[in-house]
């Protein structure tokens, strides 16, 4: 891909990145000085706790709730938990400890002196085991990619399955892979983002999607390993590290070798009304896990355009991409792991809508030349007119290939009508194949006219993004979110779901996972 087709001013691009850093830095500082129930649960999951009580509440939730009641979370959960583990004679079994704690026979304390040193050592050893599993999975993925091969074309073709039943999802996912999908995303059940625990086991009941559970992850990854072997290309698996349990789901993804995770720095705040502080703290930890696990994140900028106008709000997408990039790099993610999002959501009745789409997509491409970029299909202007929808999807695919997008989520002409039928998916893939086959190399010839419409539009959007970033830096990011800067939603830092699960670090806070993940940085 020849670069600088937009003739962007490197000084402006550098200024935009610098502003994103200035806007993001205070949020990172806040994330580094707070913890959440879900971060602590993720750490204990790395240390090996599993299972759930008779009501389906995971033991890790019971344990962390108990610790919180006894001593608070300001010192982290591992110190009191591993101190109790050493004292209670359960032979190092965290799950057993949780059961005893739930029965009321264990009380938690913050250890001091040599007890604290011992608890730290014990917990670090246990957590290191979990991280070792994540490391092994990463090596295994590399090995399988070498063995089976990468997809033949870019963009990778990304398809969604969503039946609610993991045992229905599996044959559908395998069929989708056979039909040409390179990436399978299993959509989560509606409402899982607001559950403050991760359900356990294989699940067969979900609304408009399937629950993200460790066992469901394992089953689907194993099925796609079979498909990879059969098809001679490594089929990637995607899920959602979002909502109240983001750090835990990221951890489970690492433990089960998922390959991509949806993981946006602000999506939960804006679209699920999750407390901003909770989100940023959970975000940082989940990104550190993704970095370690070699998982590609997909960010959610497409969502802004479904609520705000895709032309007026184009620069908010750029701003969010720059912020997501900053937060990702800070957490240790590399450029090849940044599936920064954007979408084809301009009203097709608007004159020159296609040229505007091209300008926006190319801007993202040129700003982030080494990121894979996640290209999302039209949804807002899919009206139920399936014939027009199929045409729109074709133009979406054309922008995708013309601008070198890395991951293309296949648009369905029945968007907003039904969850995709078998035939909808087949028609959609036929559309993608036609466009990639007929125009896959067109980007080699496509250079926007110097000073023409596309270049001017891209420069305009970047300029507006810089202005907005300046305002955000002045106002602080948290206030900007409170004022409704992104996606029109107003989300103040003292409101939203999950705030009660946030704790400020006390002196002596300890988190062995963070220590391991940040070692050598």
């Amino acid at each position: 891909m020849n670069l600088n087709r937009l003739n962007l001013d490197p000084a402006v691009v550098q200024r935009a990145r610098e502003l994103a850093r200035l806007a993001g830095q205070p949020v990172v500082d806040m994330a580094r000085s707070h913890t959440t129930v879900s971060v602590e649960r993720a750490v204990l999951r790395l240390a090996g706790i599993t299972g759930a009580d008779a009501d389906g509440i995971p033991w890790v939730n019971r344990l962390v709730d108990q610790v919180r009641d006894d001593v608070g979370l300001g010192h982290g959960a591992t110190l009191p938990v591993f101190h109790a583990l050493a004292e209670s004679g359960v032979d190092g079994d965290l799950t057993l400890l949780a059961q005893k704690a739930a029965a009321g026979s264990v009380k938690f304390h913050i250890p001091e002196g040599k007890h604290a040193t011992a608890a730290k050592k014990l917990s670090k050893r246990a957590v290191a085991q979990g991280i070792k599993t994540i490391d092994r999975n990463r090596l295994e993925r590399d090995k399988l990619i070498k063995k089976h091969g990468e997809p033949k074309q870019r963009p990778w073709i990304y398809l969604i399955v969503a039946t609610g039943d993991i045992y229905e999802d599996i044959p559908q996912a395998q069929a989708a892979a056979r039909a040409g999908a390179d990436v399978i995303a299993v959509i989560r059940s509606t409402g899982q983002s607001l559950l403050d625990y991760v359900p356990e086991g294989a699940t067969r009941e979900g609304f408009a999607g399937t629950y993200a559970t460790q066992e469901n992850f394992r089953l689907m990854r194993a099925a796609l390993d079979e498909s990879s072997k059969e098809l001679g290309r490594y089929i990637r698996l995607t899920n959602y590290a979002s909502g109240l349990c983001m750090p835990e789901i990221a951890t489970l993804a690492g433990l089960q070798r998922l390959d991509m995770m949806l993981n946006d720095s602000m999506y939960g705040i804006l679209f699920r009304d999750i407390n901003p502080i909770r989100t940023f703290v959970d975000q940082r930890f989940s990104r550190q896990i993704h970095a370690r696990a070699g998982i590609i994140i997909n960010t959610g900028e497409d969502n802004y355009l479904t609520t705000a106008d895709a032309v007026e709000a184009a620069h908010t997408v750029t701003v969010s991409q720059l912020l997501n990039e900053y937060f990702a790099h800070e957490a240790g993610l590399e450029d090849w792991q940044l599936g920064l999002g954007h979408a084809f959501e301009i009203n097709p009745d608007l004159p020159e809508s296609f040229r505007l789409e091209l300008a926006h997509a190319l801007l993202a491409r040129e700003l982030f030349p080494d990121a894979p970029l996640k290209w999302m299909p039209p949804t807002k202007h899919m009206t139920g007119d399936v014939f027009r929808g199929n045409l729109l999807d074709g133009f979406f695919n054309l922008v995708g290939t013309l601008t070198g997008q890395g991951i293309l989520l296949v648009g369905m002409m029945t968007e907003a009508v039904v969850t995709p039928w078998l035939s909808d998916r087949d028609i959609a893939l036929q559309n993608v194949r036609y466009v990639l086959g007929a125009a896959g190399g067109l980007h080699e010839d496509f250079v926007p006219a110097p000073g023409g419409f596309i270049q001017q539009r891209a420069h305009g959007v970047l300029g507006e993004a810089v202005t907005l970033l300046e305002e955000i830096v002045d106002d602080t990011l948290l206030n900007a979110i409170a004022d409704g800067t992104f996606g029109i939603m107003k989300r103040p830092a003292n409101r939203g779901k999950g705030l009660d699960g946030v704790a400020k670090h006390e002196d002596g806070y300890y988190n062995p996972a963070t220590e391991i993940l940040e070692a050598g940085k």
Partner: protein
Amino acid sequence: MTKTVVRPYGDTTGDGMTQVSFTLPIPHDKKAEGAALQLAAKMGLDPAMLVHAKQMGDGFTFFVIYGSVRHLVELDKVQVVERDFPLLGSKEINTIVKQKLRRKLSVVGACIGTDAHTVGIDAILNIKGIAGEKGLEYYREFKVVNMGAQVTVPELVAAAKQEKADAVLVSQVVTQRDAHLYNTREMTAAFREAMPAGKRPLLIVGGPRFDELMAGELGVDRIFGRGTTPREVASYLVHSLVTQRSK
């Protein structure tokens, strides 16, 4: 004379031409094509033309069929909910509220249950609106609270009380296992329990899959279906809450 009986129109009056597509769970062969034509005949397509057949994966075939449908449409037997209120402009609406209600008209909106799709409620409430029409937030004389997604019914009732809502708007997009009907019934039951008849806000649901004839059964005052615009909702609110009541 107005027509009372019509047939689908391809390119000639009365030709009955119709196009359908479907998938059968069998591989593509001669027999599969015969099976598709048999289904078309049972659907009333006679004669039917199989214009496209394509196998998908191992055991499925997709068909497109054109044919003349033998059924007749009897227009005098069609039942729909006709708009029974005048469609007004935003200026008129503001004027009526200002002069006759003499306070702001309070509207509370939400997506209830696990439904996270705010696109419907946002289209109606957000100032941005839809299809070039501004949402209810744009109406100077309306006070709008949009609670967003995944609001629980008790939260909605509490907000309606606090805001002294004249109308409650609920949007439901997800329809798996009839979640939209279940959620709506739960919502109307909660309002009936929480407030006496005269004090209850107007209860309105909207979503692409509701049957507009089910209002009574679901206990709501009105159902708005696909393609409803903010102006229609605003006109209805003014008609029900102001114009009719001041008569």
